[in-house]
């Protein structure tokens, strides 16, 4: 990615993006984390900060991965990885779990994405129009149901193509849903004007970020 992340730019790795998101999650929030970079966010929220993680498969109070040898085969997250339960946690069935999601009870959902558009559209479940067997899972419910939808993603594809765009080219997961995007290069808010850059990594200037982005960027007002 010569155009987007030369050595002088302190681009974040996956854990760096997750840690940056974790800083913005206050105590008391109920949070659902999608698969990929979002799952890593939980590792960066200190245990003493009481954030309650929800998983679509009916777990409230998801805790860290179990130690090897202490895996409980009955307790998994939505990514089907073994997890633990924090004190105060609860199990619920699937209809209640999605009542939590769709009913606007979650303070935050963090999802990964292939593309995010300047109007808040998100595409994260299917890569092509002919790919009819793509797995949607709970992404469409999460994207419309949580109080806030943040996206964690690389700013560009591996080939350097922008993933923050004017309009999504992949099939949508939800329209107008994304509030913030955290990438390896920047943190951006989606406003009626479009993408507003709130932070950039060290060594990167606004024009460089603009060149890696497929939509117009704005400074905060």
């Amino acid at each position: 990615m010569p155009d987007t992340a030369p050595a002088s730019i302190a681009a974040l790795d996956r854990h760096g993006i997750a840690a940056r998101i974790a800083r913005d999650i206050p105590e008391g929030w109920y949070v659902n984390l999608g698969i990929g970079i979002p799952t890593l966010v939980a590792e960066h929220v200190p245990l003493q900060r009481e954030v309650i993680f929800h998983s679509e498969n009916g777990v409230l109070g998801v805790g860290p991965s179990p130690a090897p040898g202490a895996v409980n085969p009955w307790l998994i997250n939505a990514g089907k990885q073994p997890v633990t339960l924090r004190p105060g946690g609860a199990f619920i069935h699937h209809a209640d779990s999605f009542a939590i999601i769709r009913g606007n009870h979650l303070d935050l959902c963090v999802l990964g994405a292939f593309e995010v558009a300047e109007n808040g559209d998100i595409a994260n479940w299917a890569t092509g129009k002919n790919d009819a067997a793509s797995a949607v899972g709970g992404a469409m419910d999460l994207a419309v149901g949580a109080k806030r939808l943040w996206v964690a993603m690389e700013h560009t594809t591996k080939d350097g193509m922008p993933r923050l765009v004017e309009r999504c080219t992949y099939p949508l997961t939800a329209s107008g849903a994304v509030k913030r995007v955290y990438t390896n290069l920047a943190m951006l808010e989606i406003t009626p004007r479009g993408f507003v850059v709130l932070e950039m990594v060290r060594g990167l200037d606004f024009e460089q970020l603009q060149r890696s982005t497929g939509a117009q960027l704005f400074h905060p007002e």
Binding site: K80, M140, T173, A174
Partner: protein, 232 residues
């Protein structure tokens, strides 16, 4: 005396017809009624519609049922996952029909069927290709899509404990789709890890009351983990 326990798999599976809509509890492997799925394989019903979150893995259980060409159609939210090789092969060969449903819409369609609700408006999938061709309505300034109830002829459920009335509890995240599947079929068949004397399950902890359950088969297979079960 009411006694929903059955003594054999054959008795549990009796009467399941070709062309049935079969609801399967479970999320991935957890909470999946594996023994009952094997029982259905042995029972022989074909031309089935299966409703489940996933489309099976490896060559056992649901994947085996599909491999034997017994499933005409599958309704699920997440067909493609690690090891869903049988589904992938059948789907690319055009030998299985697929209906993709967002996971929350899937759960609510099943819940609605069990609750006597014919259809409902949901905000999920509005503006996406999964809402194409469906009725939409603006209510209080927001657009919703109409989704219909999804009922089963048969539900296969995995419980943790059961009594002869068919009262059930579940274990940890193995609860998932099981309680709603139990409400939404004409015939609900349960496999349970443990049986318990009627009256011994505290009424406050029963998750699925026996009114939703027709048959219970005792299939103990779980190893006790260090954490133990809900009764440990």
């Amino acid at each position: 005396m009411i006694d929903k326990f059955v003594d054999s798999m054959a008795e549990a599976m009796a009467g399941i017809r070709d062309g049935s809509v079969v609801l399967l509890g479970g999320f991935g492997q957890v909470g999946q009624p594996d023994a009952l799925i094997d029982g259905l394989i042995a029972q022989g019903a074909k031309d089935l519609t299966v409703v489940a979150n996933n489309a099976g893995t490896g060559h056992t259980g649901l994947a085996r049922l599909m491999e034997l060409r017994r499933v005409r159609r599958i309704v699920c939210s997440f067909p493609r996952s690690a090891g869903s090789v049988v589904f992938e092969a059948l789907y690319s060969a055009g030998e299985i029909e697929l209906e993709i449903v967002p996971q929350g819409t899937l759960a609510e369609r099943i819940r609605a069927a069990g609750a006597g609700i014919a259809a409902f408006f949901t905000p999920t999938a509005v503006g996406t290709r999964l809402a194409e061709g469906k009725e939409q309505r603006e209510i209080n300034g927001r657009t919703y899509v109409l989704e219909s109830a999804l009922a089963g002829d048969v539900a296969l459920v995995e419980a943790w404990r059961a009594d002869r009335f068919g009262n059930l509890t579940y274990r940890e995240s193995a609860r998932n789709f099981n309680p709603i599947m139990a409400t939404a079929a004409k015939l609900t068949i349960v496999q349970t890890q443990q049986t318990i004397l009627a009256g011994s399950l505290h009424p406050e902890v029963i998750v699925t009351p026996g009114i939703f359950v027709d048959r219970v088969l005792h299939v103990p297979y779980a190893m006790q983990t260090e954490m133990g079960g809900p009764d440990a």
